[in-house]
């Protein structure tokens, strides 16, 4: 127990004290954007991870990130909503959409489900190109920065537009959201619900024979997953102040999945670590220019061969 508390404290210190201090000390304020991205992408990856946990390969998270982004952008730009209110609405919109989509497709297993979800991202991109409200390929740009928000008279966030560097504010917003999402996820997985999800992953027939409503549980997990995708997408669009049909593509969907693989499918914090390593790794290899993709993919293949259970399995092995 104390070990967990120490781990949590170290994590909070690293995220809220050390990282901002390092950035200030080195003067690399551009890193705020990098870490904001990592935090938001790891939230979306956590959703993908949950669908892995019930035994489904999900390569469609980009669709929900894009959907959530558009919901937020449209509500802010055309309906004058506060950015803050669009966040839960974007998440819930995606969750409801995923229930409608999930009921028929979650019956599929293995590669068939994976293929359908992969196509889903492309469908969403084409949809964003086609419907009038998304403004086609030109996208929605110059989205205003979030205004102030207060709860019961307590100011939670200032007006981002008045800040000297709104990126710092987005950094804090993203890591707070990431911390909350992963804390809830940890609770979910370590409660009985997590055990039932695991039973689903290991044998659906047996799970239904012991009275688990497997269809309902699958849809529930997928809805939570898509909620996280939509939420992350909405904040991401807020931070970049613009959205295009290509803001989240099939590549992003694949990356969300790879983040989970890399971190470890058996560990709640796998997607967080995976996102960090993959995102930074890709950026560090930028100086390799034309060899960037080659080195990156070779490293991925080697890592998967050497560590099939993800980076976090290193620590677990040492313990056992």
């Amino acid at each position: 127990m104390t070990k967990k508390i120490i781990g949590l404290l170290l994590f909070l210190i690293a995220v809220f004290v050390v990282a901002p201090w390092l950035i200030a000390a080195t003067g690399r304020t551009d890193l705020y954007y990098v870490f904001t991205s990592v935090a938001l992408l790891s939230i979306a990856s956590a959703g993908v991870w949950l669908t892995f946990y019930i035994g489904r390969i999900n390569i469609g998270q980009g669709a929900y990130a894009l959907m959530g982004g558009y919901v937020s952008a449209i509500l802010v730009m055309y309906y004058g909503w506060s950015f803050w209110w669009t966040l839960p609405v974007a998440g819930i919109f995606c969750a409801v959409a995923s229930i409608l989509i999930g009921v028929p497709i979650l019956r599929l297993r293995g590669v068939y489900f994976a293929m359908v979800t992969l196509i889903l991202t492309e469908v969403m991109r084409l949809l964003a190109l086609a419907v009038p409200i998304t403004n086609g390929a030109k996208g929605i740009t110059s989205i205003p920065l979030p205004g102030p928000i207060s709860l019961f008279g307590l100011a939670l966030a200032p007006d981002f537009a008045t800040l000297e560097n709104p990126r710092i504010a987005f950094y804090y917003l993203s890591v707070v959201l990431m911390t909350v999402c992963f804390a809830l996820m940890y609770r979910l997985v370590h409660s009985r619900i997590g055990h039932i999800c695991l039973s689903l992953q290991q044998n659906e027939e047996l799970a239904s024979s012991i009275g688990v409503n497997i269809a309902a549980l699958r849809v529930m997990a997928y809805a939570i997953s898509s909620f996280l995708g939509g939420l992350a997408g909405a904040v991401f669009i807020g931070a970049t102040q613009s959205i295009y049909p290509s803001s989240f593509t099939v590549t992003d969907s694949v990356n969300f999945m790879l983040n989970c693989f890399l971190g470890g499918l058996g560990y709640v914090f796998g997607p967080m670590l995976g996102t960090l390593v993959l995102y930074l790794g890709w950026n560090l290899l930028f100086s390799m220019e034309k060899y960037q993709l080659l080195i990156y993919s070779t490293a991925m293949i080697v890592l998967m061969l050497v560590l099939p259970n993800g980076l976090l399995s290193l620590g677990a092995k040492r313990k056992g």
Partner: protein, 259 residues
Amino acid sequence: MAQILEVKGLTKRFGGLIAVNDVSFGVNEREILSVIGPNGAGKSTLFKLISSFLKPTSGEVTFKGERISNQAPHIAARKGVVRTFQETTIFRNMSVRDNVIVAHQLRAKASLLGFFLGSAEARRDEARFAGSADEILSFLGLDAIGGELARNLPHGHLRALGIAIGLATNPTVLLLDEPFAGMNHDETMKAVAMVRKLRERGLTVLLVEHDMPAVMKISDRIVVLNFGEKIAEGTPSEIQNNQRVIEAYLGVEDEAIGL
């Protein structure tokens, strides 16, 4: 004895093939009833129809007067009719004890949200499940290996684990899928004793089985299927002397049906 489970005119067609054809029989409370028949007689299909893993083409299965066929498997399980599987169907990457604990889902009083928030009700459930799992494991002689990963178990223990998972749901009727398959004589005798103990717990047992001597020894009544149709029903001695049953098994040595 009161009739608890009733199979009425059950028929299952797969395309042009009639796997189960108009089969009817009843199961009494706390009875051990076996369904036997040559390979391809429709035993497994019948088994899946009763546990709602398949939907019948026509006919129905009722449990205490309520229809349980033509539904989802978890509905039949909720009403108290639970099947076990052959040995490979377990939660492979969980410990033996966790396999049994998770199988207590039907006994949960707390909601999923309650489990997420860790409500008092949920904590009581967890404690109850752990206690009950330990009781079931010791009942089946698995208590010493509760911490083992299920995928590492030898065959005999796997079969027992399957039954432990079934018991955790607190069933009224337990359907056993070939509980003696692949066992040697000693193992079969142990398993026969175990099925009798299930009845002593108050369960009604319906089993599908190939092993004739074991079936003759254990069953109160036997239903014989051949080519999807019921050709006989009765006590073991009635079945042994039934001319149609002997014909169905023609080519099989007499001792194979326990004569």
